[in-house]
Amino acid sequence: MEKITLASQLLQYFITGLTVGSVYAMVAVGFNIIYNVTEIINFAQGEFVMLGGLIMVFLHVAMGLSLILAFPATIVLVTLIGILIDRLAIRPIRCPSVLTLIIATIAVSIIIKGTASFIWGKNPFDLPAFSGRNPINILGAVIQPQYFWVIGFLVVTAVALSIFFDRTIMGKAMSACADNPNAASLVGINVKQMVLLSFALSAAIGAVAGITITPISLMEYDRGAMLAVKGFGAAILGGLGSFPGAILGGLIMGSIESFGAGLISSGYKDAFALIVLLVILFFKPSGLMGSVEISRIKRF
């Protein structure tokens, strides 16, 4: 077989990094939505991704539902789980401090993971790729069609969210809660409802990430934690609370991992991403797109 040129290799690293980074970005966006409204870090964020993948496998592969039906059905189911988490684990806590709520989300993630291992067992599951598995060759780099789906859904999510937050009353109300919950409730916004909505939205985004990545990497019950860590890193890198920051952070994390693994050493690729994260935080403590003023008034 012919030797691959350096340029094609670089292109390959870039595209792989972008794909993996898109998933991190979606997880990071999920973190931000909940953080903005409640100031808590939802440690069950990775479990939404896992649930998205596994429920999709169940509906599409086991139940035989078509892709077009199974996709929204999965999102709805995971969204319902997100709503349940808020109603059962977050809202009932009396006199909540940010720390208690964060600990509650850790408990939730353990429960979800345990339940998933009972329902699906411990084996990984596969999902057929949305548009086949015939790779496309671009300038010597090989690209799975599924990569485009992952990147495409990140774009769709980003566009939909920016429309939601900038153009709809509901979105504006949520942004208001993010800025100042007390003032928001004074002008008649139901803050509790907004918290519920934030859990629903970030569950839905997590589900999208899970559904699109499963055909590439398979999915099993304990995959969530690792994705949550990477997504959290991406959210911090971009500036906690900033949506463009989350997306940028995710893509940077993915690219650094991919280039680091390819050009330097694959054994230390996670370390490269963390080193870059530390360096950036050293020069800009609020993250790439975060603002120091906002982070000062937050409790966490």
Partner: protein, 389 residues
């Protein structure tokens, strides 16, 4: 009142029936065998089939008259893949449950951690983990007195792969490994044995056990163009590697997987990408491919049929390790009864025991009892294994 009385009578009747039924099946006395597996946690894919296998075997043994008229009683604990919990579990099995012998644990780390417990209480322990260090005391250069293990060592799998590569005239290879205990141990054996087989390792790539994509590592390997890749991992990553390898159009570079690939589930998950992949497997993974006169044919076919009928899932090689461990102990119990020292001596002198993963011949210098012949080289052909010779 009457309702209450009726319900009491009915309850008593149920108890009586239960006692009668129990009486009818009861065997006089019992032999207790302890087991520790990682049934939950990070290594549950090992512990789960191991537990199912020994439970299935115990059920069958007790239904067919037990061991010399005595019941085989299994006491199974879950160590969750944790060395500390494993240590406590083994100690509890020996001191509280008073078992005749212990089988397990599933992982190499916990196995190494419980050697001292087995030695201290002078109880035979048959581990289901792979590392050669479990049965090799570096101080004396001999096996530990009370510890045995059934899985083939990593070095045997490496030898089987390197022999196959050598026969094909290949010496420029790339290696890939997962950054877990399994991958690290395989990697160090691959590097240690390379000079002996004249292998030139041109790339040494790694990835995490939960990584989503290995395209970057494979692209780098593609750049240095070796003649073969040897990948050492377990779990979903080995499937992702196989798929990425196929997608990148690297079929010209033969892919060798470790014995960790030994489940048909992996071929299924790779959805066509595994075609042409080589890997070394124990006999129990390829029972139906073995020739009819093969010594392991009947035991492996038997195990496969029973397991698949009972659990409705494909066989993995790990259940075979616990099969070997339990049956070695049962065989000893049949001959010498529950006498720890006699069980130990019996297993140490066991020759030609027909197990799932090979013919075990133990000796005072070898507490594993297998050679590299315990691995057969197979290739994935038409979504199934095919023997290579």
């Amino acid at each position: 009142m009457t309702l209450k009385r009726i319900s009491v009578i009915i309850t008593i009747c149920f108890f009586a029936i239960g006692l009668l039924v129990g009486q009818a099946n009861a065997l006089e006395g019992s032999y207790k065998v302890g087991a520790v597996f990682s049934v939950t946690g990070r290594a549950s894919f090992l512990g789960d089939p191991e537990k199912k296998t020994v439970e299935m075997l115990a059920e069958k043994i007790n239904a067919t008259g037990g061991i010399k008229g005595k019941k085989l009683e299994l006491v199974i604990y879950d160590d969750e893949g944790d060395a500390t919990k494993c240590n406590l579990a083994v100690e509890k099995l020996i001191t509280r449950d008073k078992v005749c012998a212990v089988i397990g644990p599933s992982l190499s780390g916990p196995s190494l951690a419980v050697i001292s417990v087995a030695e201290k209480y002078e109880t035979p322990l048959v581990s289901c983990a792979a590392s050669y260090k479990i049965v090799y005391d570096e101080k004396t250069g001999k096996p530990y007195k009370w510890v045995f293990k059934t899985p083939q060592s990593d070095s045997m799998a490496v030898e089987a792969i390197y022999t196959h590569l050598k026969n094909r005239g290949i010496n420029k290879i790339a290696i890939m490994s997962v950054t877990s205990g399994f991958g690290a141990s395989g990697r160090s054996e691959l590097i240690r044995l390379a000079p002996e087989f004249n292998m030139n390792i041109v790339a040494d790539e790694k990835y995490g056990p939960k990584d989503t994509d290995m395209t970057a590592q494979l692209t780098k390997i593609k750049g240095v163009a070796p003649a073969a890749i040897v990948n050492w991992s377990i779990g979903p990553t080995q499937v992702t590697v196989t798929r990425n390898w196929r997608d990148l159009g690297m079929a010209g570079i033969t892919l060798y997987q470790s014995h960790g690939f030994g489940s048909r589930k992996n071929i299924e998950l790779a959805s066509g990408a595994a075609e042409g992949v080589f890997c070394p497997l124990g006999a129990c993974n390829i029972a139906e491919l073995l020739p009819a006169n093969h010594l392991q044919k009947s035991v492996t076919m038997d195990y496969m049929k029973n397991y698949m009928a009972k659990h409705n899932e494909p066989l993995s090689s790990f259940g075979g390790h616990s099969w070997d461990a339990l049956m070695l102990v049962v065989d000893a119990l049949k001959s010498v009864g529950c006498d720890k020292a006699a069980i130990r001596n019996y297993i140490e002198n066991q020759k030609g025991f027909v197990g799932q993963h090979g013919l075990f011949s133990f000796s005072p210098d070898d507490h594993n009892g297998l050679t590299k012949d315990a691995f057969k080289m197979v290739i994935v052909k038409g979504d199934d294994w095919a023997l290579v010779d």
